[in-house]
């Protein structure tokens, strides 16, 4: 952006600092706005020969220690924002002008838009089709591997299409052009992926470009075609972040939506049979959406079928010693926009333990072995007390339904208790219900917010502690007849 200067600089870092000074000299005719978020700095101003020198000084500051799951440094450290840019609208207009020539339609682009959306009846279906086409068909490349790619200017959409590769702004620009080709109002949007950037002072420190689509009510919805492995059009790393839609008229900065937990869901269904010899078998179906789906794709999509099977067999064998995988079927991984589904059967010997008169089992679902992804997403909620808030990647929901068939000639002596606990943005329902010949086990965990501090964090811990004890209980069987 010519004739403008802006800066967002954390004033505290991972090392202790004795003294920090930031000095900016601008022409006296250039108004400069500044603000220190989450802290203070001594500011001085000196004008000589038509130039103004601003100086911000901070004395001794301790280091910020890293804490698992803490927000990025830019969200918790004192931050100096300095800008000569009058408003966010100016940045919006500037980028819209910069990208204007890149979004010129071409016959090939219009033809592509038509062919991709052919036969699709609804606006949403057409938008999704174009989004996932760009996400999947245009390879994302590292800047260093794509030639002269520094700066903000996107490549012309027709060029990105011919190359079949691009960086984020190239992919965004191509999608903008394709959406416009089917008559929709679409614009590029600048965003800081992974960080909630402060909004009071307009600074040009975005690290990512996405797409904004004008909806019927005049508001915008957002799409990120860079995320090739996401079944959501707006994946977790650009949810709940500040985005600047770039239009000729100019827009103010706004917040992208946070997907509800129901869109970041893992659904697990298991039919488990316990045997009198202590072995068990289970038929399992896992259906993943949102962040669960994204993580599954990221871990499995690049693997060959045999490597995928090895990966899942390895995870199972680590969770359930001796578990053997069979009949693995993975669908959805290679279908843009679909949810990943994994179905398999497992057999495991020596899971039942003869303890006095009892046969003691932990079933795969009840033992918490079938949902390692939710556990991973929530793993940072481990400390009793935190210095910084806990920032989860996304909201999370996990649903489990397991039917457990008991061995012939055995009845349940005891089983884990049912419970329901709801605290703030976290809730857990667990039910252990004896049914004919066995047990129906269901569990639903919902974490409906992303950032937790103070009491909200303690509430989350309470719920997760309860869930963690899921596998502590056992199915205690004893020989006998059902009465």
């Amino acid at each position: 952006m010519d004739h403008a200067f802006s800066l967002a600089q954390p004033l505290q870092g991972a090392l202790p600092s004795l003294y920090t000074c930031i000095q900016v000299t601008v022409p006296a005719t250039m108004p400069l706005a500044w603000q220190v978020h989450r802290g203070a700095a001594a500011c001085s101003k000196r004008e000589t020969e038509g130039r103004v020198t601003w100086r911000w000084e901070v004395g001794e500051l301790p280091p910020i220690s890293a804490e698992p799951g803490m927000p990025p440094l830019a969200e918790i450290a004192p931050l100096l924002a300095v800008s000569t840019i009058p408003s966010w609208r100016d940045i919006s207009r500037w980028y819209a002008a910069l990208a204007k020539d890149s979004s010129q339609g071409a016959p090939a682009l219009e033809e592509l838009a038509r062919s991709v959306t052919a036969g699709l009846q609804t606006r949403e279906a057409r938008v999704r089709a174009l989004h996932f086409w760009v996400a999947a068909q245009i390879r994302y490349v590292e800047t260093t591997c794509a030639g002269d790619k520094a700066g903000f200017s996107p490549a012309p959409a027709s060029q990105t299409l011919a190359r079949r590769y691009g960086v984020c702004r190239d992919k965004a620009q191509l999608l903008v052009t394709l959406l416009r080709a089917i008559g929709l109002e679409a614009h590029p949007a600048l965003i800081t992926s992974g960080i909630r950037q402060d909004v009071a002072i307009p600074v040009l420190q975005f690290n990512h470009a996405i797409v904004a689509l004008r909806d019927g009510d005049g508001s915008f919805s957002f799409l990120d075609p860079t995320a090739a492995d996401s079944s959501q059009v707006l994946p977790w790393m650009v949810q709940d972040r500040f985005a600047l839609v770039c239009t000729e008229a100019g827009e103010d900065i706004q917040t992208t939506p946070l997907a509800p937990a129901s869109e970041n869901r893992m659904d697990i269904t298991a039919a488990t049979t316990l045997e009198a010899d202590g072995s068990l078998r289970s038929d399992v179906l896992m259906e993943a959406s949102g962040i669960h789906d994204l993580l599954l794709r990221q871990n499995l999509k690049g693997l060959s079928p045999a490597e995928r099977e090895n990966a899942i067999a390895g995870i199972l064998a680590a969770a359930i010693p001796g578990a053997q995988l069979s009949q693995l079927r993975i669908t959805g991984l290679d279908e843009p926009g679909a949810w990943a589904r994994i179905a398999f059967s497992l057999r495991a010997p020596a899971q039942g333990i003869q303890a006095g008169p009892y046969l003691v089992f932990t079933s795969p679902g009840q033992g918490g072995c079938l949902d390692p992804i939710s556990a991973q997403l929530l793993a940072a909620a481990s400390a009793a007390q935190r210095v910084h808030p806990l920032a989860l990647a996304a909201t999370v929901e996990s649903r489990l339904r397991e039917t457990i068939q008991l061995p012939q000639g055995f009845v349940l002596r005891s089983h884990p208790e049912s419970l329901e606990v709801s605290r703030g943005a976290a809730g857990l329902q667990r039910s252990c219900q004896p049914v004919a010949g066995g047990l129906l086990y269901t569990e639903t965990l919902a974490v409906t917010d992303r950032v937790f501090a103070g009491q909200a964090y303690q509430d989350l811990r309470t719920v997760l502690d309860q869930r963690g004890r899921l596998g502590d209980g056992k199915l205690i069987l004893i020989r006998g007849e059902v009465r």
Partner: protein, 645 residues
């Protein structure tokens, strides 16, 4: 996997050479039907890979490569569409002769000029003396499944680049992790050159042709199946056809060339002399002096993790390395030699073979992947791994212990084997003291004594973390062990002290650790090796030979004080089991108020063949089974009810 990189890396030492796959061959290769149905595990198929290395009479080498790959699956795009060709910017130029995407429609696209570029190798980007480690990057346009990419390049020696006398040596793999229709390696050398080669894993004999004053050796493989990568499998070099070659007459000659280079680099200048004196002031014995200098070079000279040979094998000047305070492995050894020379002590470079693949008998530096230093002292010889700043000083890790190596002395090179380490030096000992109350709450203490690779793993994990951050890390581990387990206190020995093994003591508590179900108190005992990185056999069965990489031993002792008013209904059984390189065992005993569990597991370095692997997996699985971690207590009142008539 980027095959170009693979083959080129190995040959970087070399000065390189090409093939002239004619247009008709390319057209025929492109026309040959290749489908996912034929290769269900493949992301791509190598239709043609030709590499030609031409050595001229001045010892300079030209490399030419021609690669043609059909993309079958989208997942192959990321690894193949940005080709990276390593070369040495100070000695070589790399020219792209042809780069094009052959579209399924039959059309072809060429990269724009801006999509072909030279970049510094990432590992050297922040260290200017190593910026000659370059990558030529080509980003292919328009690639979709069904398309093929074609890359033809030449690496030439730069005019005027000094010949450092390095022998012509290298290694070629004639298959890889994707199926390959045809792979060819040709070496062209002046007639009369003493080229020696060795073949491995069914590599065919070369076709030898003489053309004028040049002799060409060509190895060709056709229709090679892919190697599906499995966790823990042996190195690819152990599985696919492989050629190793060298013009060095023998190890002695190769060593003399290296010795000249190292001695020249390690001549101590005034700065080096004064540094050596400052470091050893007050230290009387040579052992103390050598250890002090080794610690300095290991810990205070930052390592630049360049692969051995990536910028040649000869080190830079010791004085420059000292001033920079960063170094690649050979530079570290040169500085070490220089500092010792200033004290009239002598160190010698030792090139060590880290990979487990069978070594060649001929003299080639390509057979070695890292560098150690050896010092002969009155108390015996010592080996120092100067590039490893998170392992105990003077103790070799399993990757470097008992390995084939080449010692470079004044007299030349000599083959040797690095000292083996005792399994007891690669060990973890965990002591748990736990107390459980009648409500199921647990309080306890865990003391970990680590050595060898476990010691190194913990140092690596904790490196650069302050006390608060360490607390957070250990809290995370405890929480993973059992949700709700809270760290109360932590003591960690000084991770920068490389003289002594690292020790950790954790104090913790966990409300409702045990689960009450009616009259029963269910106790899931913690995995006694939970913080000890216990070995995991990753798969129930394998297709490739499995490499157990080290001799190690884990031992745990767990003492649990039981709550009053309960009797033990079940406790883990005592057992002992052994299969191949694995042995496990445990003993468990209870008294009225205490449970004592001792568990051990050990393994030794060995290649396990696929047919023997399931037996090994069973032994490992049995040791991890749920019956080994369950303690079932029954309230005494219930017990007396049951036993009453």
């Amino acid at each position: 996997m980027n095959r170009t990189c693979c083959l080129l890396t190995l040959a970087l030492i070399i000065a390189w050479a090409l093939p002239a796959a004619d247009p008709a061959r390319i057209a025929a290769a492109l026309a040959s039907p290749v489908t996912s149905a034929q290769h269900p595990q493949a992301g791509a198929v190598v239709l043609l890979e030709e590499t030609v290395l031409t050595l001229d009479g001045n010892g300079r080498c030209t490399v030419e490569g021609h690669l043609l790959v059909r993309i079958l699956q989208e997942r192959a795009l990321g690894g193949l569409c940005d080709q990276r060709i390593p070369f040495r910017g100070d000695r070589q130029s790399c020219t792209i002769l042809a780069a094009r995407t052959h579209l399924p429609s039959g059309q072809s696209l060429e990269p724009e000029a801006g999509a072909i570029m030279d970049v510094a190798a990432p590992e050297a980007a922040a260290a200017s003396p190593y910026s000659s480690a370059r990558l030529k990057v080509v980003a292919f346009p328009g690639v979709v499944p069904g398309a093929a990419i074609e890359l033809k390049f030449r690496i030439n020696p730069l005019p005027g680049a000094a010949d450092d006398g390095q022998p012509f040596m290298g290694e070629g793999l004639l298959a890889g992790t994707e199926p390959s229709r045809e792979t060819t390696l040709t070496l062209r050398v002046p007639a009369g050159t003493g080229l020696r080669y060795e073949l491995f894993n069914g590599c065919p004999a070369p076709v030898i042709r003489r053309a004028g004053a040049t002799v060409g050796y060509t190895w060709t493989t056709r229709d090679q199946e892919q190697i599906v990568v499995e966790p823990g499998m042996v190195a690819l070099e152990e599985l696919v056809p492989r050629v190793v070659w060298s013009t060095a007459k023998d190890t002695g000659e190769l060593g003399r060339w290296l010795a000249r280079g190292f001695r020249k680099a390690a001549a101590p200048g005034p700065e080096v002399r004064s540094q050596a004196l400052a470091l050893t002031r007050g230290l009387a014995s040579p052992e103390e002096q050598v250890d002090r200098i080794a610690r300095f070079v290991t810990q205070e000279i930052r390592i630049i993790p360049l692969g051995l040979g990536q910028v040649g094998y000869l080190p830079g000047q010791a004085s420059r390395i000292l001033a920079n305070r960063y170094a690649d492995p050979q530079d570290k050894v040169a500085l070490f030699m220089a500092l010792l020379a200033a004290l009239k002590l002598e160190a010698e470079p030792v090139f060590v073979r880290v990979t487990r693949a069978r070594p060649a008998q001929l003299a080639s530096l390509k057979e070695y992947q890292d560098l150690l230093a050896r010092v002969q002292l009155p108390s015996g010889e010592r080996f120092y791994h100067l590039g490893q700043d998170l392992a105990r000083l003077g103790r070799l890790l399993p990757s470097h212990a008992g390995r084939p190596a080449m010692l470079v002395s004044r007299k030349g090179g000599r083959a040797l084997r690095t000292p083996a380490v005792d399994r007891l030096q690669q060990c973890l000992r965990a002591s748990w003291e736990l107390e459980l109350d009648a409500q199921g709450s647990l309080a306890g203490r865990l003391k970990l004594n680590l050595d060898g690779l476990f010691d190194k793993a913990l140092r690596t994990w904790l490196a650069g973390r302050n006390a608060e951050e360490r607390q957070g890390l250990f809290q995370g581990v405890l929480d993973g062990l059992r949700k709700g387990m809270q760290l109360e206190n932590i003591q960690v020995s000084d991770g920068l002290d490389l003289e002594r093994p690292v020790q950790v003591t954790l104090a913790f508590r966990c409300p409702r650790f045990a689960c009450r179900q009616g009259d029963l108190l269910i106790v899931n005992l913690p995995d006694p090796f939970a913080l000890g990185m216990a070995p995991i056999l990753p798969l129930p069965q394998v297709r490739q030979p499995f490499q157990v990489t080290a001799d190690c031993r884990l031992e745990a002792a767990l003492v649990l004080r039981l709550p009053k008013g309960f009797r033990v209904l079940y406790r883990p059984p005592s057992s002992a089991d052994r299969q191949g390189p694995f042995a496990t065992g445990q003993t468990c005993a209870t008294t009225a108020d205490t449970l004592t569990l001792e568990r051990r597991i050990s393994w030794r370095e060995e290649v396990v063949q696929p047919e023997a692997y399931p037996g090994l997996f069973q032994v490992f699985t049995r040791s991890q089974g749920p019956g080994n971690s369950l303690l079932l207590l029954e309230a005494a009142t219930a017990a007396s009810r049951q036993s009453a008539p």
